[in-house]
């Protein structure tokens, strides 16, 4: 372990250490980071030993600019915007990785956090090195945030110290918080979107208020009410955030005699209700947080279909294929709520696919 004052550092020395798989502690605009070559399997293993991390926890990386970032991740429009707006700076952007880095850098789901530090020494090192280095904080897992070298050294063992090859000492850093992590992979709904839904023979109505949206739902319910308990009925709801899918569901619930308060199922994913004076169930589902097609089965929708329940599924277009699979056993009604120019106006379309 060698400690060198920042003003005496030679970039090429640092690069040589990184090339030979070494660990370098370096200052940033947030806390002290620890860098190894992110393309070197052995170096990453050494880092994991140093950090004493649970297995499977990924590392974010530092790159010198956006073009280097693009070699390792796919940037969607949301990510591009954030790069333009916030980088270089104390923000880590998570995108889908291209699997070109050492094992254990990307997350188990293949996502990768990237940051461009606004600390010239770091970008100079990465630039000269020619590929990314890890940008994890220099403390061992669950230990104090390192703003000075002593914060690191007093909290690690001799064995851990022996793993560090170089410390670049810039004194005490200003107490800025660690970088903010922004996950942009959620904007890729396309991964799950199972083909577009075309509503046939569609009916359309204009709603001028949340109250009218509820009334529209009530009218729609009256058309299908006769099937209650005989067949499952699925209302497959589509529409942007804030278009009124939950409001529409409230209207359905009132019409079918559910007395409970209908609230957003975004967190619980599934809310169950009982219809008044009957044994029939009403199931309110929100698949917005689901990002993995293979595991939709965990939601037990087919059980609800067997029970001949009534279902309202928000963000139904995300699991369109799954819903189509119920076409035989259930009555599937697709409902699309579109925003219009006026703030409170919506056009509501419905029909079968």
């Amino acid at each position: 372990m060698r400690t060198v004052k920042e003003k005496n550092i030679k970039i090429q020395d640092v690069v040589n250490i990184l090339k030979s798989g070494g660990l370098v502690v370096y200052p940033t605009e947030t806390v002290y980071g620890i860098g190894v070559s992110a393309v070197d399997n052995k170096a990453i293993e050494k880092l994991t030993k140093y950090k004493k991390r649970p297995i499977g926890k990924p590392y974010s990386i530092a790159v010198s600019d956006i073009s280097m970032a693009k070699k390792y991740v796919t940037l969607n429009p949301a990510a591009e915007n954030i790069y333009k707006t916030f980088l270089p700076g104390p923000v880590t952007v998570v995108s889908n990785g291209k699997h070109k880095l050492a094992k254990g850098v990307e997350s188990e789901t293949g996502t990768l956090g990237i940051r461009i530090p606004s600390y010239k020494l770091v970008t100079d090192i990465v630039n000269r090195f020619g590929s990314p280095i890890t940008a994890t904080s220099a403390n061992a897992s669950y230990k104090k945030r390192p703003y000075k070298i002593a914060d690191i050294l007093t909290n690690i063992t001799e064995k851990q110290k022996s793993l560090i090859d170089l410390i670049i000492d810039a004194g005490t850093l200003p107490k800025n918080e660690p970088s903010t992590v922004i996950d942009t992979t959620y904007d890729e709904i396309a991964i799950l979107r199972q083909g577009s839904v075309y509503i046939q023979n569609k009916n359309e109505i204009l709603s001028r208020s949340p109250e009218e949206t509820k009334n529209c739902a009530k009218e729609l319910w009256q058309k299908y009410e006769k099937y209650t308990g005989k067949r499952a009925i699925v209302f497959a709801l589509m529409g942007e955030m804030g278009s009124g899918k939950t409001i529409f569901t409230k209207g359905l619930a009132i019409a079918m005699g559910v007395d409970d308060l209908i609230t957003s199922p975004t967190y619980n994913i599934v809310n169950n209700y009982q219809m008044k004076n009957s044994t029939n169930k009403f199931i309110h589902i929100d698949v917005w947080r689901i990002n993995n097609t293979g595991e939709i089965s965990d939601l037990n929708i087919s059980q609800n279909i067997n029970d001949r329940s009534v279902l309202a599924i928000e963000w139904a277009d995300k699991i369109a294929d799954t819903i189509r699979g119920f076409n035989e056993e259930a009555i599937v009604v697709w409902v699309k709520i579109n925003n219009r120019k006026k703030v409170n106006e919506r056009s509501i379309e419905w029909g079968v696919e």
Binding site: T85, Y186, I290
Partner: protein, 364 residues
């Protein structure tokens, strides 16, 4: 009647497990003292992120639970054999996730012949404020937060105000009729492309912005006395505002910070107005405290506003002693279980079942 809130050291150790949503957590408590509180957060872990994928959440819970439970036992210096009871969250929450914790708790209770306690997640958020740091001197551990009290849960899945006559007896004074406060903050962050869950990110940017930059409609204006929180209209208005601004140009850093601050301000203002009105309407009388639990209470600005409100109506806010007790965690489950233990409220292992739609005032 409920029991008085007291804390001394001849209580049994209770192992608590919570897998109600995205977090896998286990804890050992002794009376009101937290001996260990291990939280394996999926939102933190996955790449640093990759996602709060709920159905993967079940698999993640299954994969992590033994490790998490072992860790909580080890760091509290306990063995299964030395436990007085095993407790577990049975609801409300994500059914498939709840099941993982319940099965695990049931197995331990049967194998080691320990009494089993079923806990309501909402109740444990409220009682989380009673948790005590094990490093405190014993003389400081006796506190005086005796009910009756008001209680608030502000989290991703819930926004709730109750009157607590005594531990175990809750009357709902206000609750959300659509989105929860935490969900609303997460979704607004999402609208700004700050990822999801984004409430914490939103807070960071809000700090750098000006809260009066954009005007947003205050929900339920003039109807605060109805005892309803509502965030869906605000979300819609915000979605429209962001959309309009984006049409003009890509949002700048300043705009993002100002939007975050404006949204947070309006959302909190609504929360405070409804809460204050509901409390004064019910009547403060001899109620001295407002217990505040849930992940959103970790937001510094919200806590500031709650303190200010409490001052105006002459009650004292009580928050958990550690940040780790705000979000979902098992230590708070152990605290709630401690009261049930004293009252002898146990469940048979073969009878315990998940209750995903459990209400705060519902008997388990």
């Amino acid at each position: 009647m409920g029991c008085r809130i007291i804390n001394h050291t001849n209580f049994m150790r209770i192992l608590a497990i919570d897998t109600s949503c995205d977090e896998t957590s286990s804890s050992v408590t002794d009376g009101l003292t937290v001996l260990s509180n291990v939280v394996w957060s999926q939102s933190k872990i996955h790449s640093k992120f990759g996602g709060v994928v709920p159905s993967t959440a079940r698999r993640e819970h299954e994969r992590k639970i033994s490790w998490v439970v072992e860790k909580s036992l080890k760091s509290s210096g306990s063995r299964y054999g030395s436990l007085g009871a095993v407790s577990v969250t049975v609801g409300p929450g994500l059914a498939i996730a709840l099941g993982v914790g319940i099965n695990f708790a049931r197995t331990i209770a049967e194998k080691y012949n320990k009494p089993l306690i079923a806990v309501n997640h909402l109740e444990s958020h409220i009682l989380s404020v009673l948790a005590q740091n094990k490093n405190l001197k014993r003389s400081k551990k006796i506190h005086t937060y005796q009910p009756p009290s008001f209680g608030v849960v502000v989290s991703g899945g819930n926004t709730l105000l109750v009157y607590m006559k005594h531990v175990g007896n809750y009357q709902v004074l206000a609750q959300t009729i659509d989105d929860a406060l935490g969900e609303s903050l997460d979704k607004s962050a999402r609208l700004l492309c700050l990822g999801y869950p984004g409430g914490a990110v939103l807070e960071k940017f809000a700090k750098q912005g000006s809260q009066n930059s954009y005007s947003l409609p205050l929900p339920m204006l003039g109807r605060e006395g109805v005892g309803q929180y509502s965030y869906s209209g605000l979300k819609t208005a915000f979605a429209r505002l962001v959309e309009d601004l984006k049409q003009k140009s890509v949002l700048s850093k300043t705009q993002i910070c100002d939007l975050a601050a404006s949204y947070q301000n309006t959302a909190f203002e609504h929360f405070i107005r409804v809460t204050q009105k509901a409390i004064t309407k019910y009547g403060v009388h001899d109620t001295k405290y407002l217990f505040v639990g849930g992940g959103v209470a970790a937001n510094v600005e919200l806590r500031k506003r709650i303190r200010k409100m409490c001052k105006e109506i002459s009650i004292s806010p009580v928050f958990p002693y550690s940040k780790r007790l705000y979000g979902d965690n098992a230590a708070m489950v152990g605290i709630a279980a401690n009261f049930k233990y004293q009252m002898g409220k146990f469940v048979k292992p073969e009878k315990v079942d998940r209750m995903p739609d459990l209400k705060i005032d519902q008997i388990i």
